[in-house]
Amino acid sequence: MTRSWRSRYSPHLTFSSEQLRQVGQTISEEFSLRGSGATVPELVLMPVDPYHLHAYWHIDAGDTPAVQKGQQPGGKSDLRLRIFCQYKAQPGQSNSEPWFDVAVGTERNWCDVRLPLDNLRCRAALGIKSDNQPFAPLLFSNRVQAPKAGPSAVRTAAAERLKGAQLDRPTAPSDRPTASAASNRYDERLIDAIIRQALSDQNIRVKLKPQADREQDCKTEQTLIAPALSSHTIARRHIE
């Protein structure tokens, strides 16, 4: 017997499973996602962890020729993501907003950005930086706050005594566990993945791979960070 379905809001209309499937398929085909998603020019920053942000953007069609003009052989371009980090250097000093540039190609519209410090409040500008020319911004982003990587500086004696129960601090980039180390430590993600996988009935064991260093793709071309920042251990990579 063919079953029929009714909307609770229009009980007089009935559908067969096939009719429902056709409606779903037609809409999925006619309104499928096109492009990257954005339709208005925008630059969006999202915090990933204490030392990483994710950025994506959509450049206005009118600016595309300027971007393409700066394109060089080998996929290089003059397109830059300028990251501004709000930073209070020392007590008594005024806030500064040092920045650094990340070279981004024209072939994609996203980038992972590695931050020199945790807990930074950042904004970004996407623009063109040609030789001997000032940075020409095209888009400005929202402000985001990267998470903290450690406890607040002031630690009370009581908190010290309870320290024994404080385990599993997240890792900074410099001490991120290797694949083998990660497999030996408590890893809720792995367990959670296995549970969900088990529920999916696929019976394929999850083998987690070390996180790919995607920021390698987004090469920090210049490190123009203020001295206050550069005194920290920063992954300064002068490439090319």
Partner: protein, 533 residues
């Protein structure tokens, strides 16, 4: 007077999977297996504890998508069929093992009894609606029920638009209230995902507490004087409880955790993959695609040795031992904490409910044994619900804002934002921007009009696209195609509705079809997305 408290939190969640357009979709089995393997065993545990008069309380978070599915007529009907089919296989296995595999016959009998009991509990005791069971134990005072975000959206990555977070929270609370007829006091933030400022919306939604991972509390704006063993007041009265790392490790850890014990049942040994295909074909997917059946005859065993036959008695004994060990550890922990605390400490132990019974077959037995042993007079702690702790023991709370965190990879957001799933966020953000436009432009539309229905359906489509499950699956690498299709289909439906509404050409027929397929949150209020005053 007990020296301290332990709060066990079980977070029950599955993504909304409902396909009336297909005869027997594979992904709906996620729910059926969770019902038979996890929720019914837990409910049977609650029933036994109630009958025994055991004193305890635990917190159970029911995600709004799970609530909707447990209450859904089609899924209940299909689940009942699923249980009956499993029982038919168990009957068949009893016959097969009696003649051809006598070593497994006792186990086959065990599964037959288990499935018969499951059928009785599901069909007869609770009329195929397990929400009735949870309400029963809520009313008995042993379970505190809390909610989660509407479709389990990962809030730190949705707050590009505050309306997206607002809708996830408010629609989640509304769905919970309508299904269970109570207001939730607390919320399980999806994936424990918190960002500073979220407490403002939580308060607006009438929520009094949430949970953060350990480092979210330990890295708070002010160093927490009592570590993770007392909640923080986020500054507006909303409390943040911190997860106790040791409780997590004892259960979750692949190396140190209890579930990996060699006497426990091996999940990956299942007759769906082990028996002759012609024999098992009626109980697997169309085309003879093998799947787990839930009938498993071997134990973990350990090493590279051939898997040994599962011994349920030995496993039950081991579950009791592990429960006692967990109890002993908590007693020691309370003894250690109490001298340093200015109020009775609380140890918060949250787990995915789906761990218990499905992946860890003996999990419900372990939990029941622990609860029974914890109800002993000489115990120095008491099992408590978070609301009771807040009311009776937590005040005054230290004021501090937790730090942004999750319980995912390395404690932050990488698992939900990486090269496998980052493509979804520009689409999700844009859809939210469009939903805000719709809500602002059509805010005074009469309710129950066709336009009102279309606006509500657009909100449903957006919420369903935002589930944290989809980027999670894309990253974990299982059923990736399905997860991607769910995101793209829901966004396509949203875009279709946006186009229909803005061009004032709503197709009644197509709208009704979408309402049937994405039949969730019947009274959703799209005004959650309004940004204008």
């Amino acid at each position: 007077m007990k020296k301290g408290f332990l709060s066990i939190i079980l977070h029950a969640h599955l993504p909304f999977v409902h396909h009336p357009e297909q005869p027997s979709p594979f992904e709906e089995r996620w729910l059926f297996e969770a019902i038979t393997d996890c929720y019914i065993p837990l409910i049977r545990m609650f029933d036994r504890l109630l009958a025994a008069g055991t004193r305890y309380k635990l917190v159970l978070s029911l995600s709004p998508t799970l609530i909707a599915m447990l209450d859904n007529e089609l899924l209940r009907e299909r689940c009942l069929n699923h249980i009956k089919q499993m029982l038919a296989l168990a009957d068949k296995e009893m016959e097969r093992t009696r003649v051809h595999a006598p070593a497994y016959h006792n186990l086959a009998c065990m599964y037959q009894r288990l499935l018969s009991d499951n059928l009785y509990v599901y069909e007869t005791c609770y009329q195929t609606n397990l929400l009735n069971a949870f309400i029963k134990h809520l009313e008995a005072g042993h379970v505190e029920l809390i909610t989660s975000a509407a479709t389990h959206g990962f809030l730190p990555l949705l707050n590009q638009h505050e309306s997206a977070v607002r809708a996830q929270l408010f629609a989640g609370v509304q769905a919970f209230e309508q299904a269970l007829d109570i207001h939730p006091s607390g919320i399980w933030l999806p994936e424990c995902g918190y960002y500073p400022g979220l407490e403002r919306l939580l308060k607006k939604a009438g929520l009094h507490y949430f949970f953060a991972d350990s480092h979210g509390i330990l890295h708070a704006s002010e160093s927490p004087r009592l570590g993770v063993h007392a909640p923080l007041d986020c500054g507006n009265g909303v409390a943040a409880f911190g997860r106790d790392p040791d409780c997590s490790r004892r259960v979750w850890s692949a190396t140190e955790g209890y579930p990996g014990d060699f006497d426990y049942r091996e999940y990956y040994s299942d007759i769906g993959f082990e028996l002759d295909l012609d024999y098992i074909r009626p109980h697997v997917l169309e085309g003879g695609i093998r799947v787990n059946t839930g009938i498993k005859y071997h134990k973990v065993t350990g090493g590279d040795r051939p898997k040994e036959i599962y011994n349920p008695v030995a496993a039950a004994n081991k579950a009791n031992e592990h429960a006692f060990d967990f109890l002993t550890q908590r007693r020691k922990q309370i003894e250690h904490l109490t001298p340093h605390m200015e109020k009775p400490p609380i140890i918060v132990a949250p787990y995915d409910a789906e761990l218990f019974g499905h992946w860890w077959f003996e999990g419900p037995l372990w939990l029941e044994s622990f609860i029974r042993q914890a109800d002993m007079q000489d115990n120095n702690f008491e099992l408590i619900g978070c609301t009771d702790y807040l009311v009776d023991h937590a005040q005054p709370m230290q004021k501090a804002t937790p730090s942004e965190s999750s319980w995912g990879e390395n404690g932050y957001h990488r698992y939900w934002l990486n090269d496998k799933n980052d493509w979804i966020y520009p689409h999700l953000h844009q859809a939210c921007r469009h939903m805000e436009d719709l809500a602002n432009d059509y805010r005074n539309i009469p309710s129950d009009s066709l336009m009102d229905r279309a606006l509500k359906q657009a909100a449903r489509s957006l919420l369903l696209a935002q589930a944290s499950d989809w980027p999670f699956i894309m990253k974990s690498g299982t059923t990736v195609e399905y997860a991607a299709k769910r995101v793209t289909d829901h966004l396509a439906r949203f875009n279709y509705l946006y186009d229909s509404i803005t061009n004032n050409r709503i197709d009644h027929h197509q709208l009704s079809a979408l309402e049937i397929m994405d039949d969730i949150f019947p009274d959703i209020d799209y005004h959650y997305y309004c940004t204008a005053d």
